[in-house]
């Protein structure tokens, strides 16, 4: 450890929009976006599976792109718009109270959820993909989810869930 530094550097002001709500936060410069989401804002949907960027359980969307919240300094997210799994359903216009986002629905309906620890990151990685490519083929889906480790499912039903979500989002298929 560094003996030279006894006192922490000054905290910095960070403005973030998280799930549509603006926050002005005073944070230590070393704090990650994941620490801020989980410990300052109480948004525990993003998990710390490894803290080193290699598992994907902390994946959130930053200005629409998937990022590792554990490897993104909060101060580097200054001014960004963050979407976590908690805010996903609210991105659906005029949704019924309690209704889920179609991707979340598809994960439930296609049995893409087992232990659930990877699910928030997985769903957000899928959202980033479908926002960019509404009709991805299977290889693209697997590539887009390539950084999200799931130890339970073998991915088959997760991939099926993303396909189902794509069909529902495009209106090709309506949820029964």
């Amino acid at each position: 450890m560094n003996e030279a530094r006894k006192s922490p550097p000054k905290k910095m002001v960070v403005e973030l929009e998280v799930n549509g709500t603006r926050h002005e936060l005073l944070v230590e410069p070393r704090r990650t976006l994941l620490e801020v989401l989980r410990e300052e804002l109480g948004l525990t949907g993003a998990k710390e599976g490894c803290g080193l960027g290699a598992c994907g359980t902390c994946t959130v969307l930053m200005d629409g792109r998937p990022v590792r919240a554990c490897l993104t300094l909060a101060v580097e997210a200054q001014g960004a718009s963050i979407l976590t799994v908690e805010g996903l359903a609210d991105t659906v216009a005029d949704r019924e109270p309690g209704a889920l986002h179609p991707i979340q629905e598809a994960f439930v309906d296609a049995h893409g959820v087992q232990c659930g620890f990877c699910t928030p990151g997985m769903i957000l990685a899928a959202k980033a993909l479908l926002d960019e490519e509404p009709d991805p083929d299977e290889a693209r889906i697997r590539e887009a989810l390539g950084g999200q480790v799931c130890r339970c499912t073998g991915y088959t039903k997760i991939v099926e869930a993303v396909k189902l979500a794509a069909r529902r989002l495009s209106g090709e298929e309506v949820k029964a």
Binding site: T44, C55, H111, A139, G146, G154, T156
Partner: protein, 759 residues
């Protein structure tokens, strides 16, 4: 016709998990909560000469420092005779990662800072890192009580093996070696403990058996079990790695006792990898003898398993690979010597694909024998598969098991026989089979019980010790309750895995949940039905045995208009002082005198599942990379209560046991230090790696399982490993004896074959 059994209903917990609402242990916090951190040994084997915590205690914000001095010295072991682990090292440390001290502080940062202020002086001792070196005469002794570092020896002898080999037409010996697998459940271990001023301890942690945890913790803390409440929490995967007691829960609970404040301890990924459990590495030597017609006549297997520093589930772990074998293929004469050996490595426990070097050795032997005897791999398995009515060498009766249907399903779907021997160069196809037991004798904690109660509006609450690690156990009992009560699962509440409320349950680590917890819930619901019919028979002026319960109505069979809403029956019961509370208790039909070491015979489990897999691969002969073209898996799980969930278990099992287990996963070491405790170094399969999987569910309708159901999923995790290994052998023309078959090993095998001209 079942209304809820066999239906792929969406899981109850899926919505919570898809929205981030589901709470895992690290997500929890309590007012006034402290944060804990653990000081671990950086050395594999060392004497603790001096341990000084005074500087840490003086750090502002530190509320308690815990060392072995503050513990009762109670040692943990799954069995009375395996109690060898103190939760904090007292005189010496035996592996890198062993707990030496712990701190509770106002913040995680302070707790970590305090660890750096704890002074430990170690005297480094010679260490040993593999089982064969550890049993050598001059090896360093890790535990005083264990000569030659042998922790467990499971000897099983049935028949006359030596004579039987003389009777064989084909006898062959194989030696296989595997490195350790690791669980890499996505959730790192975490504990939240709260000891209140009445001395009651509440604990949340990912676990596979809350009642086992509560008992172990009560022992260690010197409390009655009733004072330790293990609470329900979402669990991010287990795969066998959350089964027994770990120091983490003791440390958090003890620190909470010391501070009278809630204490949260969250492991890093590295801690989860090295300081919870790993799989055993193994060296397996087998001799198999066959008759000319391909029937297996005798086997002699010796396995050396690297158990790491402590016993954990040792006797079980040393037995299960053999048991899975004897349930899979018939053999009248067996000799098995399983040695679990202490080494200075992290502690090993049961893992989903337990013993790939063992299981794959068996199926390698079958393929080699088939080739020598002019059979194809499907045929030799058909001839040897254990089936309904058989009795295993260790005296387990197989009441119902449709092994042949699983073999047929995968062989036909894959067109195995059309492809065998006719695939283009570097393509290969392989098959593997395995049987998994639905539970084993676990004494007083070997069964499950459940209750069902009703609200005044006929709302149903099921109370069960069932624990769900992600595999869907909660949904299993919900669908069973729905079927038994004629009530939609959505209308049923479930109180599960909370030891203050729920009755003892065997837990989710012996594949017994569906059979035992499921039956207990079924029986509780049937008991409630009887009570409901008793009340309703007066109301409907009909005999109890003529009544039906469906869609929230009790009615007379054959005249559905003579009906009364369940709600009215419940209210009538309340008026009459007959509050309907159903109770069910289930113990599996097993021989409780069976013991892993002293008496390894008698009925092991009430039910046995079977799985068969075929895998087709293409090997890149220049790089040794294996591309899996297709995988077919068939599973006799008795009855699929929720088919999509069973498929999910099969697919996940293939990913872990087959794809990860054979192509990718291994712990790497340097002098007892795990080189890949992280998700980058340890190769859990990723979405782009996985092949198309074709699952087939075979339903043999188990006579003892709830609605015919038994173990679902594990069979596939194991048999896919065998199929992967055999398919690669078929593609490259030689078997690989080291597991996993990473590209470097595949290429080496190809090159060696080219040199030696091995066919």
């Amino acid at each position: 016709m079942s209304r809820y059994i066999g239906q792929s209903l969406p899981r109850r917990d899926a919505r919570l998990k898809a929205t981030g609402e589901a709470r895992f242990t690290a997500d929890l916090s309590l007012p006034f909560m402290l944060h804990a951190a653990v000081l671990r040994s950086p050395y594999p084997h060392a004497r603790i000469v001096r341990l000084d915590t005074s500087r840490a205690e003086r750090l502002p914000g530190v509320k308690a420092v815990l060392t072995a001095r503050d513990t009762s010295g109670v040692k943990w072991g799954v069995f009375r005779y395996t109690r060898d682990q103190e939760f904090l090292a007292r005189e010496k440390v035996r592996y890198v990662g062993e707990e030496v001290a712990a701190v509770a502080a106002e913040s995680e940062d302070i707790a970590r800072e305090a660890l750096e202020l704890i002074e430990v002086e170690y005297e480094i001792l010679p260490a040993v890192f593999d089982p064969l070196s550890a049993v050598a005469d001059d090896a360093p002794r890790i535990h005083d009580h264990a000569e030659r570092n042998i922790n467990i020896h499971v000897p099983i002898h049935v028949g006359d093996v030596d004579r039987a080999f003389d009777e064989c037409d084909y006898v062959h010996t194989e030696r296989t070696v595997s490195e350790e697998e690791s669980y890499f459940m996505t959730e790192p271990y975490a504990v939240l403990a709260h000891c209140d001023r009445q001395g009651t301890v509440e604990v949340w942690m990912p676990n596979a058996s809350p009642h086992t945890k509560a008992k172990g913790l009560a022992n260690a803390l010197g409390l009655p079990v009733s004072k330790v409440h293990v609470r329900h929490v979402s669990v991010g995967g287990a795969f066998g790695g959350r089964s027994d007691m770990f120091p983490g829960e003791y440390i958090a609970a003890r620190l909470s006792q010391m501070t009278q404040r809630p204490v949260k301890l969250v492991y890093t990924r590295e801690e989860n990898s090295i300081a919870v459990r790993q799989g055993h590495s193994m060296v397996v030597e087998s001799t198999f003898g066959f008759k000319r017609d391909g029937t297996l006549h005798a086997v002699d297997v010796t396995a050396y398993m690297d158990g790491g520093a402590y016993s954990s589930t040792g006797p079980i772990a040393t037995s299960v690979p053999f048991l899975c074998f004897e349930q899979t293929y018939r053999v009248p004469n067996v000799r098995y010597n399983g040695y679990r050996v202490y080494t200075n490595k992290p502690i090993r426990g049961m893992i989903r694909t337990h013993g790939r070097a063992w299981a794959c050795n068996v199926d390698m032997q079958l393929d080699l024998a088939a080739a020598a005897l002019g059979l194809d791999p499907v045929e030799i398995r058909r001839r040897n598969a254990v089936r309904t009515g058989d009795t295993t060498p260790t005296q387990s009766k197989i009441f119902k098991m449709d092994s042949l249907a699983t073999i047929k399903a995968v062989a036909e779907a894959s067109r195995f026989r059309e492809k065998w021997g006719k695939l283009p160069k570097w393509r290969g196809i392989g098959i593997g089979c395995v049987s998994v037991m639905s539970g084993f004798p676990m004494g007083i904690r070997g069964g499950s019980a459940a209750m069902v109660k009703f609200d005044e509006d006929a709302g149903v609450t099921v109370i069960s010790g069932v624990v769900d690690n992600g595999q869907g156990n909660e949904n299993v009992v919900l669908q069973i309750a729905a079927e038994a009560l004629g009530v939609a699962p959505g209308a049923i509440q479930l109180v599960a895995s909370d030891t203050e409320v729920t009755p003892i349950d065997q837990g989710a680590y012996s594949q017994a949940t569906t059979l035992c917890s499921g039956n207990a819930v079924r029986l509780a619901c049937e008991d409630a039905r009887r009570q409901i019919f008793e009340i309703a028979s007066d109301m409907l002026e009909a005999a109890e045995e003529d009544l039906e319960l469906e869609d929230g109505k009790v009615f007379v069979r054959g005249s559905p208009s003579r009906a009364v809403p369940l709600r009215n029956v419940i209210r009538m019961g309340l008026l009459k002082g007959k509050n309907v509370i159903g109770h069910g208790s289930f113990g599996p039909n097993v021989d409780q005198t069976r013991e892993w070491i002293k008496n390894p015979k008698g009925q092991l489990a009430a039910a046995f599942s079977y799985g068969s897999a075929v895998v087709e691969v293409e090997v890149d002969p220049e790089t040794g990379f294996v591309r899996v073209l297709d995988a077919w898996v068939a599973h006799d799980c008795g009855k699929a209560i929720n088919p999509k969930e069973v498929e999910g278990q099969m697919e996940g099992g293939l990913a872990m046991g087959g794809h990860g287990g054979i192509l990718l996963e291994a712990c790497k070491w340097h002098e007892g230090a795990n080189l890949n405790p992280d998700f980058l170094g340890y190769k859990v399969p990723l979405a782009p790696d996985m092949p198309p999987i074709h699952p087939f569910i075979v339903e043999s309708e188990d006579p003892f399982g709830p609605f015919g159901a038994k173990e679902g999923g594990l069979s596939i995790s194991m048999c896919t490993a065998q199929a992967y290994s055999n398919a690669i052998a078929n593609a490259i023309g030689t078997h690989i004896r080291e597991f996993p078959h990473t590209p470097d090993r595949v290429l080496e095998a190809i090159e060696k074959r080219a040199v030696t001209g091995d066919p």
